[in-house]
Symmetry: C2
């Protein structure tokens, strides 16, 4: 266990992911309650809202109200997502409450980009060039490249490391042109194609080429391998993971109807805790937040740990009992 | 990946585990249909029934009918479970259809043994001594020691490797006295306490002490770590795993209401397939058997992969598509 990191950061994306995909409507007060509950668990990074068109994503028509309503907790970075100038404008109105950062988001699969964003590779680059300029002009730092479909693609199949390198090179080019330095590379298993050996290989090869930026893994549990993939990342020294409480979020692809979405934050936290890796998170409080999320969305979430419960209670209850 | 095994054996326990815990009643014809569907997937070891008291486990009151009803497939070992002389008697009536083997089942946690079997350590040993003699007298080989609660216990907390060694030593003593040789040690994470580091350590230490017997891992997904734990086992060279299709089985402990039971066979098979390890199983057929199991029990099962689907269809559909 000596090669595992000592401390890991969990970037909670449950509110943004979860309330986007649920059929809703979910009361704004419930969204605020979950955000505040998550902030009380020790999580330091929480993505709370998406500033998207209410026509496209009705679940976030109340983004302003949700962001205005939560109670900021010292030491917690509250973040949000947006995709265009209109969204950026809306986010900028909350500069006092939100930690606003820009990202250069590209897809390692051009087929995915065409299907989901209606852009080819040149179109992706052009869109990100403009967005990066807009962010920097607004005083928002752009230090992150995010690579969607880094492990495989429902529309084009296998995605090779070379395709991921191309996307990162494109992003590095955009950053260099804009005069900003990339400090984080986020590799996303958008459609749940990763396996532990693939995670090891890709993380190793990306790090060999770009040793400076920190790597974030954005894992999906579409096929049940997310925790094993996270463990592979930990063994490679990855210290930053996106996750959603309870596995909130689901999978927007029709072929995966009902499949889990992101790795569940509390399962990732349990894995870390059991391996002796600090997360700064109170696991029992996080499980409670997962139960709150289930009450809010009105159905059970995919996380096994929400049913199984943490080990702490059993350890405390049995302390001193002869085995 | 060079240190991973080339081939792994999945011991399917879905029918026995699943139909035992479901509130039922489940028609015998449905049980037979699932057994036959599983045998058609390429699985070579299927535990099909439990010869237990119909009063204690009404779900298996039709064990005889189910065992008489399936269509034996050449090359497949159909097994069953029993706990006493009456069960053994019933199993012996099907010597032509079942692969009957005896096991020395002990618990690494005496608290678990007391709670579940009403036996202390001496009581466990005595019961297994008698059962081993009965098996051998009936011509049934006893070559396996199974250790329940090898990783932790809801009633006594942490279980140390030393406690597991004691249980194995007890079992080896029983085997030696009876003049039989143990060729398999099964380590069971009965209550879902294992983590990947714990699996590595325990498998390594058990193998260091008993290098000859093959190790089987019986993993539960109570807290979402089962696939990561299986991967740890694979990295330690373990080539035999118990599992249940769809994660059939659930968890009988009140504290884990609704929690998954055993590791899902198809998630284990996917992990192996993606790592280049042969299982002999047609993954898509196994997923179909999982869907059949869901229709039979009338509710969805915990396996994420039953929702997410295999990668094969996507790979075939996208063959030749430019990424």
């Amino acid at each position: 266990m000596n090669d595992l990191p000592r401390r890991v950061s969990i970037n909670e994306e449950g509110p943004r992911e979860g309330f986007q995909i649920e059929p809703g409507p979910i009361p704004t007060a419930d969204k605020i309650a979950l955000i505040d509950a998550l902030a009380a668990t020790g999580l330091k990074h929480i993505q709370v809202a998406s500033f998207v068109s209410p026509k496209l994503v009705p679940g976030w028509a109340d983004a302003e109200q949700a962001v205005a309503g939560f109670t900021p907790r010292p030491g917690v970075d509250y973040t949000a997502l947006w995709f265009n100038a209109a969204g950026l404008e809306r986010a900028l109105a909350f500069e006092d409450r939100l930690h606003l950062t820009g990202s250069i988001s590209l897809s390692a699969s051009e087929a995915f980009s065409r299907k989901n964003l209606n852009r080819d590779r040149a179109g992706q680059i052009e869109a990100m060039r403009k967005q990066t300029a807009a962010h920097l002009a607004a005083g928002i730092p752009v230090t992150r490249i995010g690579v969607m479909a880094s492990f495989g693609c429902n529309f084009s199949g296998v995605v090779t490391p070379a395709q991921v390198f191309t996307a990162i090179e494109d992003g590095m080019g955009i950053a260099a042109e804009a005069g900003t330095t990339i400090t984080r590379l986020s590799l996303a298993d958008t459609m749940g194609w990763a396996n532990p050996a693939h995670v090891e290989r890709l993380v190793g090869e990306v790090r060999a080429r770009w040793p400076e930026p920190e790597i974030t893994l954005h894992l999906h549990d579409t096929r049940g391998l997310a925790v094993a993939n996270a463990h592979a990342g930990l063994r490679m020294g990855v210290v930053s993971f996106d996750a959603t409480v309870g596995g909130l979020g689901g999978c927007p692809f029709a072929a995966h109807k009902g499949a889990p979405g992101n790795i569940a934050s509390e399962e990732l936290a349990l894995l870390c805790e059991e391996l002796g890796i600090e997360t700064g998170v109170d696991l029992d409080a996080l499980i409670e937040a997962g139960h709150l999320a289930e009450r809010i969305v009105g159905h059970s979430l995919p996380s096994a740990l929400l049913r199984g419960g943490s080990l702490r209670a059993f350890r405390e209850r049995t302390a001193g009992v002869a085995a």
